[in-house]
């Protein structure tokens, strides 16, 4: 039995509407492949990367500014995508940098999702003043650009952290800042969907037989509102990655010794005028490809899950 169950499950996934729609959309396939390649390369960076850019002892400053695929005049080393101002291999810094960008992006989205879903479920199900308070908070937050809110949260949080731990805590502060600036989207969508669902008969029935409201929310309503949440989550991931890059570009994100893609772009743009284009171009292209691929996947998912567009 168990031998046949696994393939049949895989087959059911392959045969599902979603998978069918995926197979029918070349854009979705390309985006999916690009995103998957970057994510896998980032995840396995320590295995793939030619050097470890976080290990200062492996760096040689004299390798600095080596152009792509050319031999350095002093050290004789060559780098596929060139070396940056500190003699770090650009390919390796991108792989490790994408890792940090993706980690921050995923964590921030999950954080925002948990926060937003909780607030949305409670607001939608309880209604009344709870709903009013939560949604007014959301409205206020929506009237500010989210990057500004992230900057504010980042600044305030840094103030509370002792100076000696700021560098190690920077990445977590970043996640919280981006997550907190992004939860509203989730909350509003979940609230709307919850209000629709709670009037439906299966919820009424569950209430009548006395099911605990928390159980109703988690077991009955939540699975039915997850569709739109996944769509916003995917697009939110692209936005979170860009938000992290923006903050790091502004110099308030992760420290330069452990660069994310945004930090690499910040470092690279200093050398654009002097002709060392590879330090900026390759991280920028990677960020662009990653954000675009995830965004397109999000668009596709929205269309695929929306019955009216089918």
């Amino acid at each position: 039995m168990s031998d046949t169950k696994t393939p049949s499950r895989l087959f059911r996934l392959w045969d599902s509407d979603i998978a069918y729609s995926f197979r029918q959309s070349p854009l979705a396939i390309i985006s999916g492949v690009v995103a998957l390649v970057i994510i896998l390369a980032a995840a396995f960076a320590p295995l793939i990367a030619p050097t470890n850019p976080y290990d200062p002892s492996s760096l040689n400053l004299m390798d600095g500014f080596t152009p792509p695929m050319q031999e350095n005049a002093f050290t004789g080393s060559t780098f596929l995508l060139g070396a940056d101002n500190q003699g770090r291999d650009v390919l390796s810094t991108i792989l490790y940098g994408a890792r940090i960008s993706l980690f921050v992006g995923f964590s921030a989205v999950i954080f925002a999702m948990v926060l937003g879903i909780t607030a949305g479920l409670i607001a939608g199900y309880r209604g009344g003043w709870v709903d009013a308070v939560l949604m007014r908070i959301a409205d206020v937050q929506l009237s500010f650009p989210s990057i500004l809110i992230a900057l504010l949260i980042f600044g305030v949080a840094r103030g509370f952290i002792p100076p000696s731990q700021r560098e190690t805590m920077a990445i977590w502060v970043l996640i919280v800042a981006i997550g907190l600036s992004d939860w509203v989207q989730f909350a509003r969508v979940v609230r709307g969907a919850t209000m629709v669902e709670k009037g439906k008969e299966y919820v009424q029935a569950a209430r009548v037989i006395g099911v605990n409201p928390i159980r109703i929310l988690l077991r009955h309503i939540l699975p039915n509102v997850m569709g739109p949440v996944l769509v916003i989550g995917t697009i939110g991931l692209a936005l979170a990655i860009i938000a992290e890059a923006t903050l790091s570009f502004l110099g308030v994100g992760v420290p330069p010794t452990q660069p994310s893609l945004g930090t690499l772009i910040r470092i690279g743009q200093q050398y654009l005028f002097s002709g060392e284009w590879w330090i900026l171009l390759f991280p920028a292209v990677t960020l662009l490809a990653l954000a675009l691929a995830v965004n397109l996947l999000g668009d596709w998912l929205r269309d695929a899950l929306n019955p009216r567009l089918r």
């Binding site: 290990d55 200062p56 002892s57 492996s58 760096l59 040689n60 400053l61 004299m62 600095g64 500014f65 002093f74 101002n85 500190q86 003699g87 100076p163 000696s164 700021r166 560098e167 110099g251 420290p255 330069p256 010794t257 743009q269 200093q270 050398y271 654009l272 005028f273 002097s274 002709g275 060392e276």
Partner: protein, 532 residues
Amino acid sequence: MTLLAPLKKSGMATKLATSALALAIFAGSASAETIRWARVADALTLDPHSQNEGPTLAVLHHMYESLVRRGTDGSLEPRLATEWNIHPDDPTIWVIKLREGVTFHDGSALTAEDVVFSFDRVRHESSGFRALHTAVTGATAVDDYTVHVQMEGPSPLYVQNLTNFFIMDSGWAEANDVVAPQNFAAGEENHAVRNANGTGPYTLVSRDPEVRTVMAYNENHWAEAPQVTEIIYTPIAEAATRVAALLSGEVDVVQDVPVQDIQRLEQTDGVHVVTGPENRNIFFAYDVSSEKLASSNVDDNPFAHADIREALALALDRDAIQQVVMRGQSQPSAAPLPPFVNGWTEELNAYSKPDYVRAAELVKAIYPEGFSFDMHCPNDRYLNDEAICQAYVGMLGRIGIEANLVSQTRSLHFPLIEKWETDFYLLGWGVPTFDSAYVFNFLLHSREEGFGSYNGSRYANDEVDAKIESLATMTDLDARNAVIAEIWEQVMEDRPILNIHNQLLAYAMRDGINLAVHPENQPQMTTLTFDN
């Protein structure tokens, strides 16, 4: 008569109109020359006695004036003082003759009382310039234009300390409650921080901190009128943005040109670059005397070990930093003082090649597992400051020392040094007096009564302290130089400071503008000329 009168009138009118037109044309060509000047950072404050710091002084020199100032060739020039002599009967008194007929921007006249007031203010507890004036016991006004400065003992070189000592109006200071200088480290604000009332060639028109400061020519200034009549000073922290601003014509003169852009700018039409050595050395310093470091993973203070300090020096590859980080735009040196300064020698300057193997052995002998600490670095003050620190983090990594780089803006960085909240930091030091005593007083004398305000190394050597104090009153210059050499010998042996290099300066400006590089990086817009 009835016919002539209107004619005569109209003739007068024509004449008037012509002369008005001529005046307008004249005014158009000779005056209203605005210079838009961009630099990496803004003045930290306009209070003239609060912060002894490069960009702050450079801006202040346009609105306030010192008694003497240093010209672009490094010599002393008269400014508000026309004469300065040691009193013929008492070697402990400096007699300063003031320029007559000078007025402050608000119209009040400069008198000896203002100079006496400024001497008191600059020696106040919250002044950032106290170490320069420790030898002064008091100043008195003999008449309206003569001041006697009473020194502790004979101080033949004291006048060198007056180049950044700005004269403030005592009446204005009292009226605006700014008799005491702003306490910058405590985050204090006062009226003088955003307003200025000096005697300088330019008056403050508007100031938006960190955004822009506008100054206009002071018509009542005593000196010959400069070609520049308006200055718009804009701090642009990002190097690429600063250069782009020059190339796009948004600004006329750019200081702190990033070394990687010099070559390209020289090849660009319409702009040119002027370079020259700066009177400033860049160095690392570290806490050598605390029991335990605030940021380290080991229980004692690694920098208290002479062997670790030697390892730090052996790991520093100055040539690599010069070639890659600075692209040749620096003079690597081991001496913690620029070559302009009295006391500098070839021997002090010499440095050996890095030896990572030996350095790693020295570290391993004391800390088999290595150790870690936080390295504090400014990222908007010196040429490629953050990149220098980052490069050294890599070099330390090779000898088993893990440095965590904390780079931040200079207004957060410098207080760490003043408040002793950093274990290891990068600092640049200019020497406005062109004498070693300035370095000793600020960086190496143990911190007490006006000394050692930038001694973030916590270096304290009683013998060195005594010798430093003796310098202030020595009149025999040969003997004095011998003591300076002794102090340097001891300091180089104790290594509280690890020098990296001397900065070279580069100003980029659009063609048609001439501005010389000032060794203290204090460009004087009064000396700027336009090609016609």
